[in-house]
Amino acid sequence: MTSYLASGRSLRSWLVTKDHKRIGILFLIATTLALVLGGVFALLIRIELLTPEPSVFDALDYNRSFTHHGVVMVFLFMVPVIPTVFGNFFLPMMLGAPDVALPRLNLASFYVYCLGATILLLSLWFGGVDTGWTFYAPYATTSPTAVATAVFGVFVVGISSILTGLNFIVTVHTMRAKGMRWFRMPLFVWAIYATAIIQVLATPVLGLSLLLVGADHAFGMGVFDPALGGDPILFQHLFWFYSHPAVYIMILPAMGVVSEVVCTFSHNRPASYRAIAISSIGIAFIGFLTWGHHMFVSGMSMLDVGAFGILSMFVAIFSAIKVFTWTATLYRGRITFNAPMLYFFGFMFLFVFGGMTGVAVATSSLDIHWHDTYFVVAHFHFIMVGGTLTMFLAACHYWFPKMFGRRYPEKWALIGAVAVILGFVFTFTPQFLLGNAGMPRRYHTYVPEYQWLNVMSTAGATILALGLVVTLVYLVHSIFRGEKAGDNPWDSRGYEWLAPTPPPTHNFHTPLVIARGPYDFHCPERP
């Protein structure tokens, strides 16, 4: 049988495909473009911040570039990337299914994403947005920029996110192969499943609050504008009710990748499968109850501050359980070291440091000083870039042989990974210190004593960007020129590796019957 890549080579066959793998590839292209675009905005920010006084941009353009950076990275890259690319490609295969439960809806979610992205990018092009990705009212409702269309774009992208989530939930419930009990599902599936629940429950709240901001902006409705009797703090509650769980929408799939990578490369069972699976669900649940920690200085009541503070501590415990379990999985494993493992190693440091600084900013008194400074910027980049981006890259390498039937060059991959991780540390460590020193975020100009740390940060960002470019180049090159790969080059026990390489349209020649767990390295690959 022909592989999914070879069955129909015309552009049309790609654009109207209902094959989850092809849709995954389409998303891979789209989200990678978003990453490049968001990265360009990031570099523009870093260039402007080389000097304390305005240099290349005026204030409005500067405010636009960090807003565009945030909006593109969060809504077009971080939130969708791992579920739509690797979730789409591998979730059905990991369940032993021929496709997702609702293939047409799957294709629709891609086009809805494209539509939303187009609206968003057009509004950025014509007029731009200068409110920050948080769209805080009432600034957002009075800003002279194209806020209404941009939030509409985000709203549409949100619909795509909901559709994807829904599809995955249905798929997990109905499409599991014979013998696939819940606790035989790969941990990546658990992570995507937990993410899908958040996507379906939280995204509507974001969508509606953004629509209200748009309506305030376009028609002066005044829901969040105190001059018209509205309440600006209400917007913050609604926004963070989505956007804190969104942090987990971004990080949970990455954690799923970690679990797969660490088990495969240590050829070992996870130290506790249940701990990892259940903590995913725990994170998804408690994550809904911590949003107030973004508002410690906005004038919340003492009770709220206390409650949101302690709940935020609990959610950190679940992440700690995972970290601990991953480390223990290495213990007495049979570890092979490839690029995904290097990313895993980077992840462990960045994620733990980023996560612990999260506990630090959830400590209410300390947050008074750190809130809205570069410390917070550095903290969430450690989590999001250090967590999600490194694991996106790890996934690109780990599953590359299965997706394209070819190998990537290991030497270049290690160079790329080192550049990404080191560049990243150099970019954001100075930002922690800037935050300590008191530099507020979203500052176009700043007092001169902050300059040299900013220069260091820009230098780090350059290394990071180079690392990403190198990675992009050799990966694209190997799609066409790489060495041919076998069916299971890493000697994994994941079910997706049982499929031919690259997989045919319906994944498996004969329906799978699952008789062993996905990490049973003591069993032969095929029973």
């Binding site: 200085v297 190693f345 020193a437």
Partner: protein
């Protein structure tokens, strides 16, 4: 040690009475964070090296049963130790942090009140004696100061890194921040909430002066421009504002209710609200009542008061509040609703007697 760590972490100078306490917790939390992240990375690295596949080359031909699944679980004692330890640590931080937070946010009694307005893109300060300044805030050394802040347009946030204080400045609401600077000096003020193109230029300076110098400085400042340059105090200026802005069409100063409640004896009173709750008339309530009167309706009155959001300057708001405060001891006749009881419990802002001499 304190100074050494402070410099290592790039923290600014500790120029307020709370800064040092906050920094101590900061050191604790950050050191644990760094040690934790390094330890995890170190363990990962050690395991990767120690259990590398080539060290089992002789056995690697067939999947190794022993290494494949023996460690099925982590010993329970270790699990309990790690999570129990982490959880207690986090809860400890929460307890210390929350207690600090309460102390840092709630002003002590007898603070000096200064009224602050944020507007795109400037800070304005109005002092109780009727003086005003833009961009530069003068405060006396060694005396706690409360800032009563509101915004005329969008949300701003008042941040003085050297004092470790920050509070959002929200239109339609009054928020407060307090600090005490022990010694004379100058410190940056930053706006930390994105408020438009001038956001990063919305900076200012706190100038801390010794007490006598402070008095002299205030004498030298321009008076609040509230229509009467000779007004002897902010409260006196506020009285004129109330007249000019038409407040007295509906309110009175002599204790008799009119279309609206009387201003007499209002400050610090417990106000019964439409809907059953009650609220203490502190600075925040008074300010919100001017900005968004319908939000909390005094029981027995109609919602006829117009919103003054965006119409009053900081100094005017400050003047009105000071004026109402100066009437706190005037007797009020309260026929309709259950008579508001006087209370002396400070809730959010202190309700102590006048600081003004």
């Amino acid at each position: 040690m304190n100074d050494w760590l402070r410099r290592l972490l790039f923290l600014p100078e500790q120029a307020s009475t709370i800064a040092r306490d906050m920094d101590s917790l900061h050191y604790f939390v950050i050191i644990v964070t760094m040690v934790g992240a390094t330890a995890v990375a170190a363990f990962t690295l050690i395991f990767i090296v120690r259990f590398a596949a080539h060290k089992h080359r002789e056995k690697s031909a067939a999947p190794d049963v022993r290494h494949g699944y023996t460690h099925g679980g982590i010993p329970v004692w270790l699990e309990l130790f790690v999570f129990g330890g982490l959880l207690s640590l986090f809860i400890l931080w929460w307890v210390i942090g929350f207690r600090q937070y309460a102390r840092f946010v709630e002003p002590p009694p007898n603070t000096l009140q200064i009224y602050v307005t944020g507007k795109q893109w400037m800070w304005t300060f109005a002092y109780p004696n009727g003086a005003a300044s833009n961009g530069i805030l003068y405060v006396p050394a060694g005396r706690p100061v409360t800032l009563v802040m509101t915004s005329r347009d969008v949300i701003h946030s008042f941040f003085v890194p050297d004092f470790r204080v920050k509070r959002d400045v929200v239109p339609g609401r009054a928020t407060t921040v307090w600090f005490e600077a022990p010694a004379a000096g100058r410190h940056h003020i930053f706006c930390t909430e994105l408020c438009g193109v001038g956001h990063s230029t919305m900076r200012g300076e706190v100038v801390v002066l010794a007490a006598e110098e402070y008095e002299r400085q205030l004498e030298g400042l321009e008076r609040v421009d509230l229509g009467d340059p000779r007004a002897s105090s902010l409260a006196a200026a506020g009285e004129r504002v109330a007249a000019r802005r038409g407040c007295m069409r509906c309110h009175t100063a002599d204790g008799t209710p009119h279309i609206g409640p009387t201003f007499a004896g209002l400050y610090g009173a417990t106000i019964p609200l439409e809907g059953g709750q009650s609220v203490i008339a502190d600075v925040q309530y008074l300010t919100s009542s001017m900005m968004d009167p319908a939000a909390q309706l005094h029981r027995g009155f109609l919602a006829v008061m117009p919103s003054y959001q965006g119409l009053l300057s900081a100094a005017e708001v400050g003047g009105l509040v000071e004026y109402i405060r100066s009437l706190r001891d005037v007797q009020r006749a309260e026929p309709q609703s259950p008579a508001p009881q006087r209370t002396d419990v400070p809730i959010v802002t202190p309700l102590q007697p006048e600081e003004r001499r």
